[in-house]
């Protein structure tokens, strides 16, 4: 086939079609704006949820790199370094050597002493913001918290510091702890984070080598830690995280991935990026499909109406030699122009909506009840994905329209021209008769019209219904964030004093000393003070509790959690966190079933079992107008009933699947938004047909022909 250069002509026709159908084009642009807005806000919300979870998890695991390798000897470290340098999928890596822990009465928290390069310090999120990492053997870089604890003035850069004398506890190969004292000059510092499970002190590699000459594989396997080398590795991208890590393990001669195997360990923050209590991948896909479907139906309707209205013109174009392929291109180009107008506006609005809803979506707590900080993503991926999906939706929506115009028969176009005239003539002749016959049956006509074109009617109803369902869904989602539930559980008090870092195994259980308690007890502004005491115990499972746990495990656990449960069953030992509470805390408890009194509880033979938080979670103009209004209302009420049914039957399930099951996400099924919107929609359903009829009646019969 000879390819002809006729783009300009097709563009001319495209632009003229759009200009000729300004009203329809505006509605189509609005539909595209709406669809793009939904996609963008969905992606902004989803990516923000993922990033917020990622940031929180990185903090929890104190690891900012993609993969870590711990506890290798210096010889092994050399081999690993060589492999990492040669691996093309590795972007960068950091090396650290564990020296020991600081022993100083003034420092009330664990502080690890390590030698680290910049990448390693960054991997712990403890790289100096002032000064630099140590280079000489008597240099040290410390976190602000350690410096504050030591009482050292460090914020004035002009001040010359004296040497800081520090004692380091070293884990020797024989398992004994050795204390060594060294004096260092401060060469850098950074703001320490109190919620980190440990603070850090960086020393130079030379210094580390002097303090801890080295560690053997055998010593490492017998619990020695000092001298162990660790790696923090970043890949060029996050694709195939496990395969790459397995590959690294093979190349470094570690057989398996995972800490327990002594191999590379994927940062759990990256491994658990999708899933958990947050937005699930299947949920996101469900929402994408729902938006594609809603957008498709709306845009499809607009295109279908537009194409069918212009079918005669398309037929005439075919008469004069426009091929089906060229006609389809004209429709595609119209769609593209509408996208050019609609998508940027939709991206802008959608991002705004996404930023607004992100705090509600990301509101979650870490393992200790600290509110997660919301990280709103500005990733270009959001805009690219939303734009591409909006384009795909528009493309899908106009496939049928393209097919219709490509197949339009030239003779059909002639028939439309002649037939239209014939119908009009017939209409004029019959006007007088029909006026009498239809006077009482305009609603019957509307019903008849619906019966005649019920397929198209259903598509219109489903598209309106889907939009209403989405509106209900958004309302339910925003309302679902149950602050009361959150407050009941995590904000029973105005202040909580604890020394629990984000990572529970490193909790300092005796943080509230008797001195602190004495001070708290006399606090003049405190209305009431309650204490919670923790203790970790292993408990042999009672038969009835075993049954309850077994049922919960089978219903709710999977993967490694289920494996852990199986192990617990085999050992018949359940790890229990015992909490001792006083009256003030007891009074804040919410009871399931019969409430326990303080007197009964304080007798000492009562234990409250915290059940898992289950899912809370031709006629006269007047007659024509009446008929058109009735038809519009018929579609609207059909759509309304459909939307109410879908919302009631599937709304909660869909939202739960999409947004997870956080206990403070209390989904209440409501159809209030579409009920509130109904009067406005009725006005629209009445005004649009009336407007169209008015516009049509402005033209004379001859013009209409």
């Amino acid at each position: 086939m000879v390819k002809v250069e006729n783009r300009d002509t097709l563009w001319l026709l495209t632009v003229r079609f759009l200009k000729n159908n300004r009203g329809r084009s505006r509605i189509a642009v609005l539909a595209i704006v709406l669809t793009t807005t939904l996609f963008t806000s969905l992606f902004t919300g989803a990516v923000s949820m993922m990033l917020s979870k990622l940031e929180a998890d990185k903090k929890t695991y104190s690891a900012w790199s993609h993969v870590v390798l711990q506890d290798v000897t210096r010889d092994e470290a050399q081999r690993v370094s060589d492999v990492l340098e040669k691996s093309d999928f590795v972007e960068r890596f950091g090396v650290n050597t564990f020296v020991g822990t600081l022993q100083d009465e003034r420092i009330p928290f664990q502080t690890e002493v390590r030698a680290a390069d910049w990448n390693a310090a960054s991997a712990f999120c403890n790289a100096p913001v002032q000064g630099r990492l140590p280079e000489k053997k008597d240099e040290i870089a410390l976190s602000s918290l350690v410096l504050d604890a030591l009482g050292i003035e460090y914020r004035n850069p002009m001040k010359n510091h004296d040497k800081i004398t520090l004692t380091i506890a070293i884990d020797n190969a024989d398992g004994k702890e050795e204390l060594v004292t060294h004096a260092f000059y401060l060469c850098g510092w950074w703001e320490g984070d109190a919620s980190d499970y440990s603070q850090y002190a960086w020393v130079s590699e030379t210094s580390a080598g002097e303090i801890v000459p080295g560690v053997t594989r055998d010593a490492l396997e017998h619990g020695a830690m000092s001298g162990a080398v660790g790696f923090s590795v970043w890949y060029k991208n996050l694709w195939n995280l496990r395969q790459k890590t397995d590959e690294l393990g093979k190349r470094c001669l570690f057989l398996q991935t995972g800490a327990q195997n002594g191999g590379f360990q994927i940062n759990p923050a990256y491994e658990g990026l999708i899933g958990g209590d947050g937005m699930s991948l299947s949920g996101v896909f469900s929402l994408i499909l729902l938006i594609v479907l809603a957008g498709y139906l709306i845009i499809y309707n607009i295109f279908s109406i537009s194409i069918k209205t212009d079918l005669r013109t398309y037929g005439l174009l075919k008469n004069v030699g426009t091929t089906g392929r060229q006609l389809a291109r004209i429709v595609h180009m119209q769609a593209f122009c509408l996208c050019l107008a609609g998508i940027p506006a939709g991206l802008f609005m959608g991002y705004g909506c996404g930023v607004l809803i992100s705090p509600a979506l990301t509101a979650d707590i870490d393992s200790l009840g600290h509110l997660r900080q919301t990280t709103v993503s500005t990733s270009p991926f959001i805009f690219a994905a939303a734009a591409v999906l909006a384009l795909v939706t528009v493309y899908l929506s106009c496939i049928q329209a393209c097919r219709i115009v490509a197949r339009v028969s030239p003779v059909e176009a002639l028939c439309i021209a002649e037939g239209g005239q014939a119908v009009s003539r017939a209409k004029r002749r019959a006007d007088g008769v029909r006026e009498r016959n239809m006077a009482a049956a305009w609603w019957g006509m509307a019903l008849g019209n619906f019966r005649r074109i019920w397929k198209r009617g259903m598509i219109v109803m489903v598209s309106i219904a889907l939009s209403l369902v989405m509106l209900n869904g958004i309302f339910m989602m925003v309302r679902g964030y149950d602050l009361d539930a959150y407050q009941r559980v995590y904000m029973a008090s105005d202040f909580a004093v604890d020394r629990l870092p984000a990572y529970a195994p490193y909790a300092v259980m005796d943080a509230i000393t008797s001195d602190i308690q004495a001070q708290l007890n006399v606090c003049p502004y405190a209305e009431r003070i309650g204490y919670v005491r923790y203790s970790e115990e292993y408990h042999e499972m009672e038969p009835h509790l075993y049954q309850v746990w077994e049922q919960i495990a089978q219903e709710r656990l999977s993967g490694r959690w289920l494996e852990s449960w199986e192990q617990m069953k085999a050992e018949n030992q359940m790890k229990i966190m015992l909490m001792g509470i006083d009256r003030a805390v007891f009074d804040k408890l919410e009871w399931c079933g019969t409430a326990c009194t303080w007197e009964t509880f304080s007798r000492g033979d009562g234990v409250i079992v915290d059940s898992p938080l289950l899912e809370v979670v031709g006629m006269t103009k007047r007659q024509i107008c009446k008929m058109l209004m009735a038809e519009g209302c018929l579609y609207l009420f059909g759509a309304f009933l459909l939307a109410v049914s879908v919302t009631v039957l599937f709304g909660a399930k869909l939202l739960t699947a999409a947004l997870g099951q956080a206990f403070f996400f209390n989904i209440k099924v409501t159809v209030l938004p579409c009920v509130v919107l109904l009067p406005f929609l009725v006005v629209v359903a009445v005004l649009i047909p009336l407007g169209q009829f008015w516009q049509m009646s402005q033209e004379s019969v001859v013009e209409r022909l």
């Binding site: 086939m1 002809v4 250069e5 006729n6 300009d8 002509t9 001319l12 026709l13 003229r16 079609f17 200009k19 000729n20 013109t313 005439l316 174009l317 075919k318 008469n319 004069v320 030699g321 426009t322 091929t323 089906g324 392929r325 060229q326 028969s409 030239p410 003779v411 176009a413 002639l414 021209a417 002649e418 005239q421 013009e703």
Partner: protein
């Protein structure tokens, strides 16, 4: 030289008992530059025949050969391209593209074909048809006679092998009809254009070089 050959052209609508024979074994030929009228009553099959000849519709059986090419051998895409290059149409309803102005309507077939319109030739045609001052007008701003002249100009601008006219004066008053027919006759001679015109009006048919009569789908 024969520009058009029709052989045993048959078109049947519907099937079985409800089958309607719109055309029943029609055969004839037209010489290059000839002006032929086809006369018949309403429902005689003349429009159906014109649609078959113009490649707008496909016959049930028989052959249409235009300028040596058999239309039945072409797929829809090829037929459309052949139509825009070789066949011009003038319909009773004018069938101009409403959103294009006179000039754009006239040069559209050539531009769709990726060709640059022959400006001088198009201007001469428009001048001959009395449309020189109307090139920027949209069809809706023109009278019926003017619109029909634009349709003729569009049909001639592509220099088609065959010009098919379906009741070209059906919507026009008698004076305008005379003007349009006169123009068709002039263009036939001036541009040596082959014209096949369908009409039910004997008087109009008399303008042609030859008259074919069709009744119940058969040539008489």
């Amino acid at each position: 030289m024969k520009i058009l050959k029709i052989r045993q052209l048959t078109k049947i609508y519907g099937m079985g008992e409800t089958a309607v024979h719109a055309l029943d074994g029609v055969s004839f030929e037209v010489e290059r530059g000839e002006f032929v009228s086809v006369v018949g009553t309403s429902g005689s099959g003349k429009s159906t025949m014109l649609h078959m000849i113009g490649g707008l519709d496909r016959p049930t059986s028989g052959e249409v050969i235009v300028d040596g090419r058999t239309l039945g051998d072409m797929d829809d895409e090829a037929l459309t391209i052949f139509r825009r290059r070789n066949i011009g149409f003038v319909f009773q309803q004018y069938n101009l593209i409403p959103m294009l102005n006179v000039w754009e309507n006239v040069v559209l077939p050539a531009k769709l074909d990726g060709r640059k319109p022959q400006k001088q030739y198009v201007e001469m045609v428009l001048d001959t048809l009395g449309l020189s001052g109307k090139t920027a007008n949209l069809p809706c701003t023109l009278s019926g006679g003017q619109q029909q002249r634009v349709a003729i100009a569009r049909a001639l601008a592509a220099k088609p092998s065959l010009l098919l006219c379906d009741e070209p004066t059906g919507n026009l008053d008698s004076q305008t009809s005379q003007d349009v027919l006169g123009l068709l006759k002039v263009t036939s001679g001036q541009f040596h254009q082959t014209i096949l015109m369908i009409t039910h009006n004997e008087e109009i048919a008399q303008l042609a070089d030859r008259i074919l009569r069709i009744e119940d789908g058969r040539l008489k």
